[in-house]
Amino acid sequence: MSKASWLRLIVAALVITLGVVVVQAQRTQVRVADDAAEHTHVAPGEHDDFYAFLSGGYSGQISVVGLPSGRTLRTIPVFSQWAENGYGYTEETKPLLMTSQGFLAWDDSHHSQLSQTDGVTDGRWVFINGNNTPRIARIDLSTFETKEIIEIPNTGGNHASPFTTENSEYLVSATRFSIPYPQQDIPIADYEGNFKGMISFIAVEPDTGEMSVDFQLLMPGFDYDVSHCGRGPSHGWCFFSSYNTEEAHTLLEVNASQRDKDFVAAVNWQRANECLADGAGESVAARYAHNMIDESSGIASHEMLEEVTLLTPEACSGVVYFLPTPKSPHGVDVDPSGEYIVPGGKLSATIAVHSFSRMLEAIENGAVSGDAYGVPILEFESVLAGEVERACLGPLHNEFDTKGNVYTSCFLTSEIIKWKLGTWEIVDRIPTFYSIGHLLVPGGDSAQPWDTYVVALNKITKDRYLPTGPELAHSAQLIDISGDRMQMLLDFPTQGEPHYGQALPAELVSENSLRIFPLAENTHPFAAKTEDETRVERDGSDVHVYMTAIRSHFAPDVIEGVKLGDTVYFHVTNLEQDWDIPHGFATYGMEGANALIMPGQTLTVKWTPQDVGVFPFYCTDFCSALHQEMQGYIRVSPADSDLALSWSVGE
């Protein structure tokens, strides 16, 4: 080797070494607590301190994660079919996914929202929005099951949803993509003035949780992005960020980023109620689905509703004001006291905080700088509480603690900054990996945060875990906020996109968790509650099998007399009354998914045999030592067979 070659080799080695050192330096600049493992270790058999309900984003579901361990405890299927347990495949659950557009197997879930009493999370329900075909779902936290889904009419992209008022009187919904109202066939270039936004208030029945669209407020055609409702002094108001006040309809990344300020819309829903009581609302035609599971039968109903109450700002003065806000704001959050309204000015390096009390003064003093389609725009300076200068790049969302600190996620600079309300000074920052979107503090968007952790919900994963090909799990990061400085504790992968999440102390949920469905209370019309009640009945070409399952047999497990051309419904009742003893049911060639039947529950699997022959069915959930023996046969005869129906077990 020549002298020059040696030199090149040495230089190359130096460059590589230097590169490694630089990369390592970047990786170690994060403060990881020395005792991080101790903080996050939950000993075998012990439980986590908090439940976190993370949105699954484009998975359409919710995942339940324990904190501080980061362990995934369960997936709750909501807007997407879930083959694991048959949600959206069984006859009982299919109606939940019906909409004005027919049966939909998927949606995009964004913001989980826990129900509140007096502004504090109460552990009764978690709500979540479907963004694509606008809907809101209610999940009962005694069973962790989706119990109800309501469609939101006249809305394109239900993103600013389902944020709650302080007693969950209302959940809100708003148009992210304005659309013609009423829907009509017009040129897309005619957007300006013809496309409208819609803000909806969904009433929640306090005892049952049942949802209804109480009224809709017709708004200018901006993009309404995120929301939060007031509490304490600001109870009665909800705040919605907006962008695209330019009313662009193409290349929004450029055309909707022209103005220095967009708006936060402040909606006074108590004023709206006064106007509605005075008859200012108008009943208008709408088509939207309302689907709900009956508690005792477990069967979902589906109904189409035909009208909704519409309110316009012109018909109700004082119902809505615009607060000028820099620039294309994304999140808008209300601090625990209810005084500060904190937007995330996505394209601004400065965080401008609005004051609720100053807003009321500005309204009273008429500090108005103009209007947009008749909605008064308040003067920026008159509602300003203070500004956090040079905060970070891409501030998106805020959560709070009890000490007056705000934790802001910054997408572009991939960090969380901690700053103080009132003094507006930044007291700490910590890098996150990578490109953080939402963040969560347990109770951090309510009147009572728990000052324990902030969880970074990151959009990009890159090198945080072992590579799994081009597609990677999203990454979340657990950060200790109990001390003066934030300390990184744990990375954990999540399901889908952890778009937003909420957490609460475990005992608020665990103590009410149901273990079984009482068999005696099962009112499913096709339930066989004892083996004596098992039977097979023919109704034209429909064959109904009233079947039971208990360790370790089905009754009946020998079925004959089914003919090609029949549709067979296996209605399987799990007779077990012991916690965590589900049985599964599947049969050869079934087009859906297995049904995982909880103790005391009845679920129905539909089967259309394609061939003549004898076909097995079996239990899919390993239930006992004789699980492998938990099987049966169904015989399918030719269409013209005159074999009578018969069934038996153990004969």
Binding site: R515, L519, A520, K529, E531, D532, I550, Q577, S624
Partner: protein, 157 residues
């Protein structure tokens, strides 16, 4: 600093005494077991039921027990023949009332720790299901079993 202690006569005596007392205690413990082997007392099993007072058969209780039994138990138990679980005829003669109720109320621990229940699991392979029966319901089921067994003819050896 910590030198080994010198030979301690008192300590050694204590050890011998403890061993002797333990042996005697063990003997005492064995007495009821020996008695049971002679058929004088049936095991009460393991669970919440320590003693049951039996009176004349209470027909109201029998009816309640029959209803619960048919809802929660008949998928696995018949009276005359082996099914998923053992046949139940004469169960009130084979087992104590406490054992029957503990088996209904606490089957998981019984199968692991009670020798009779363990042998039954080994024979039948399917564990007795915990059907979330209340003590009141279990007592009624016991009464139903008593009423069934009372109707059976005496078995001649």
């Amino acid at each position: 600093m910590n030198a080994p202690p010198p030979f301690n006569f008192a300590g050694r005596m204590l050890l011998v005494t403890v061993a002797t007392v333990s042996f005697l205690a063990l003997l005492l413990l064995l007495v009821p077991a020996l008695a049971q082997d002679e058929g004088e007392a049936l095991s009460k099993g393991i669970g919440p039921i320590e003693s049951v007072e039996l009176g004349p058969i209470d027909e109201t209780l029998v009816a309640a027990g029959k209803e619960t039994f048919e809802l929660l138990c008949t998928a696995c138990h018949k009276f005359e023949e082996r099914y998923v679980g053992p046949p139940l005829h004469r169960v009130t003669e084979r087992r104590s009332p406490e054992w029957i109720m503990n088996m209904i109320l606490n089957p998981t621990q019984m199968a692991m720790e009670d020798p009779i229940a363990f042998d039954l699991l080994a024979e039948y392979m399917t564990p007795m299901a915990d059907q979330s029966v209340t003590e009141e319901q279990a007592r009624a089921i016991l009464e139903y079993f008593r009423s069934i067994d009372a109707e059976l003819p005496d078995e001649t050896p």
